[in-house]
């Protein structure tokens, strides 16, 4: 068996939940990802299971994403969103009744949305539980990530904050999946040596770094990225394979840009009459995406042809063939020269498959089926399984690195977002001050009470302070500020969470806790109900 391929999907969204508004635009990030990426992925897993395929997929479900998927308010809103989509598709069927091939596509969409709704209701609106079942069956390995997807190297010089991001995530994973997490997806694959101690203490067994994290390791890696390294504290670091990523993502040659694939931008939310689409828009009064799109990429010009689904599926199969042929060639040439079977680690954002690249799930399906069907050269594997087969690995320290633009921390620390960090610094130290000050007297829970429920107003405030700090630390906000899309929203989020934290700090140390106000923000920023603020001590 010459070599291995490890497909890793990373599913993440920042915690966006606004009960104070009836509808909130940024909540649609979640709804679209569920409809177009997560449900299709579950459907793939179900079909693979039914066909008894040994698929070995690795999937990150970040704590913020899981929290949203399990939140009853967001579940209800998603169901409403789906019902509206089905409704809209029904109107489209009528509108296009004399207009083939649009009519066929409208029928296609209604069927897709109805099947998605059946799947969603069929698993009791609990997508986390649905993924968990596949892990329990051995078909899937689920990773956790940092609690709010903070860029860990940037808060690593405050070790309590680092510890809290990792341990809160670990606790949340235990609740969702009933077991210990073995792998942890480093947000943005951002690694620095300062993370090692906390990862070891949490018994995290493996992480993924970008390619140069391994290639620039100290000492030099013998096998480049084709085998993992053990850090001096025993965490296995797997390096992203350059070739696998490039084939999918190359600007000039990447698959998703193929002219036969569905065009993302020609959505009826923009194309059709405003009054017609208005009831289905997420932002009142503003055009937006609905998910119903009738055209394929076609080419450079604005002239788009109608989406031809069979042709698009044909493209997906062709690309799957190419992808596997290239992986096979890679493995064969490496196996000939390395003294152990080469491993290719191929991580991608989960949302690529289905949302960005509509035919992505079908591509994945073809890849997995073909790989399972032909096990001669290439075996699908999870990183944890690789470690079980190959417990002896080279010891080296990966270099600080990320998969962000520039390869380090530039995206998250530049002129547009550097203002955040001095505030986080102070807030982090204050959280430690609170944790130490209020942990001194051990609070024993009375017999019969739930040990995880807070015993006092003070404890509620401490927990909420922890939540506000965690939410302020999300790497999503500086990322958005840098990229210039929705910057006002990101700025407001950082500001709101820092201000709420500061208010709680002042109330806990100087004045007194305002119970009504606390109740309000508990209802809004309700992530991690059982958060242990003592992790910051």
């Amino acid at each position: 068996m010459p070599g291995y391929l490890s497909l890793v999907l990373h599913a993440h969204l920042p915690f966006v939940r606004h009960p104070e508004h009836e509808r909130f635009l940024e909540e649609t990030w979640l709804f679209e990802a569920i409809t177009e990426a997560y449900i299709p992925l579950l459907q793939l897993l179900e079909r693979w299971r039914r066909d008894s395929l040994d698929t070995r997929l690795t999937l990150t479900l970040t704590p913020t994403l899981c929290s949203m998927l399990l939140d009853p308010l967001l579940q209800a809103r998603y169901e409403r969103h789906l019902n509206e989509l089905i409704d809209l598709a029904g109107k489209e069927i009528q509108r296009t009744s004399l207009n083939q091939p649009f009519h066929a596509l409208a029928l296609f969409y209604q069927e897709r949305f109805t099947v998605a709704r059946d799947a969603y209701l069929g698993c009791g609106r609990d997508l986390v539980g649905a993924f968990r079942q596949f892990q329990d069956l051995g078909q899937l390995e689920i990773l956790t990530s940092a609690a709010t997807h903070a860029l860990l190297p940037l808060l690593a010089d405050h070790q309590p904050s680092l510890r809290a991001q990792i341990l809160v995530a670990r606790d949340h994973y235990r609740t969702c999946f009933g077991r210990e997490p073995r792998g942890l997806w480093l947000p943005e694959c951002a690694y620095a040596e300062s993370l090692d101690g906390v990862l070891q203490a949490a018994n995290i067994r493996w992480v993924i770094t970008d390619t140069h994290g391994i290639l620039h390791a100290e000492p030099q890696p013998r096998y480049a990225t084709f085998a993992p390294l053990f850090t001096p504290r025993g965490i296995a670091a797997f390096g992203r394979d350059a070739e696998s990523a490039r084939q999918v993502w190359s600007r000039h040659q990447g698959y998703p840009g193929d002219p036969r694939y569905r065009d993302f931008y020609r959505d009826i939310g923009f194309d059709l009459d405003f009054d017609y689409v208005k009831p289905y828009l997420s932002a009142p009064g503003q055009r937006g995406f609905t998910g119903i799109k009738y055209h394929c990429i076609t080419g450079r010009s604005a002239d788009k042809q109608v989406y031809d689904r069979p042709a698009a599926l044909q493209a997906a199969e062709e690309h799957a063939d190419q992808f596997l042929a290239a992986r096979n060639a890679q493995i064969l040439s490496l196996a000939g020269v390395l003294d152990r079977p080469p491993l290719l680690v191929a991580p991608y954002d989960a949302e690529l498959f289905g949302h960005w690249w509509y035919e992505g799930p079908e591509f994945l399906d073809f890849v997995v089926r073909k790989a399972c069907g032909d096990q001669q050269n290439l075996t699908l594997i999870t990183p944890a399984e690789y470690l079980q087969r190959h417990p002896t690995n080279q010891v080296a320290t990966p270099s600080a690195s990320s998969w962000g633009e520039g390869g380090y921390w530039r995206v998250w620390l530049n002129e547009k977002n550097e203002w955040i960090y001095p505030h986080l610094r102070v807030a982090q130290e204050r959280m430690t001050e609170l944790a130490r000050r209020f942990s001194c007297g051990a609070v024993v829970s009375p017999v019969g009470t739930d040990p995880s429920s807070p015993r006092s107003l003070q404890e509620r405030a401490l927990r909420q302070a922890a939540r506000e700090l965690l939410l302020a630390q999300a790497s999503d906000w500086p990322f958005i500020l840098r990229s210039g899309t929705s910057p006002d929203y990101a700025r407001k989020r950082v500001k709101d969470h820092l201000l709420r934290f500061t208010t709680l700090y002042d109330q806990l140390t100087a004045t007194r806790v305002d119970e009504q106000w606390l109740g309000n923000i508990e209802g809004m920023d309700n992530i991690f109900p059982a958060v242990d603020y003592r992790y910051w001590a």
Binding site: R222, H252, T392, V411, S483
Partner: protein, 378 residues
Amino acid sequence: MKTKKSRSKKGAQSAARIARRVLRARSKTAKIPPMLFEGDEPGLPATGPGDHYALVPTPSAGPSIRDEVRELPAAYGTEKLMLVARDPHWLYAHWDLTQDQQRRYNALSADRHLVVRVRPGTIAAHPFTEVHVHPESRSWFIHVEGAGIRYGAELGYYAANRQWATVATSASAATPPDTVSRDQTQRFATIPMEVPLPQLSGPVEETRVAHLPPLDAAQERALDEVIKTHLRWQEDASSAGITDMIRGLVGWDIDLPPSALPLPFDSQIESLFSPLGGERPRPEDFWLNVNAELVLYGATESDASLTIGGWPIRLQPDGTFSFRFALPDGDHEVAVSAMSAEGDLRQARLKFSRRTEYSGEVGAAPQNSSLKAPDAGL
């Protein structure tokens, strides 16, 4: 013969001359040199990763919680100096001074502003780089030469007698390396998955594996190929986003609503850019890698519009700007134009020439592939 005294006096005078020249060069009002930013100015279209958050502007909601109308404090007054290594050649320094504290120190300073000293190693080490910072700045991005080096920083000022006064000292920060390590020793360890890591006390014990022979020439070549793929990929990739690719290279004249694209979190496209360091150093061969960049910077009225090479460039709120170019061999010319709100035009046409003469094999140090030569068009 120069005496020690005259040399040090000369040194102090020359430092002062340089400082004054620097101050004069900036603007008529003797502004401090603007922050030099890593190429954050839009050399490329501003789409890309993070498009997945791009949505129509959020309908503004009145604050439902009373603290939302408050602002974050400008500073906390701890007088601490924070130092972060952002990438192999950039440090970020921030000092937590309130306005009053800053004014007080500025007043004590002969230069009327603070200075950040950055040095590799310990505080006592020499040499150090000095960065004169704007009197109202509380942070600075500082370029450093050494990748894979630990740096320390000090915030202070020169008093009237040119004596240095320290305001704050930072903890150290290490820049990541940007090349393959020269250390080729190989240690292996065996860690079964069943053994919990916390049980391992301290660094892992080395496993006595049968001595692995050094990689032979074929193996070296294969691994070199991996690295070369990366360097090629680096050129192929750009920081333009997934939107370009998914658009199927759609023409830009399509009328799309700005920032109206709800896309899922996608850092993937950024992940295209995985810069690598130099070639694997062969132990027997001595090596040198070299490269050059050009930084254009300046200032104008903050409400003017500025172009560099014909491309509009965003000014900082205080009217300053900076832009980095790659500087390959050849002659280069770039025009900088500023037009005031009333239509007055000022222009500078800068001409540069680089000619490199090599002795022995010299490589090109890797350079941020999003940088373009001045005349390449942005």
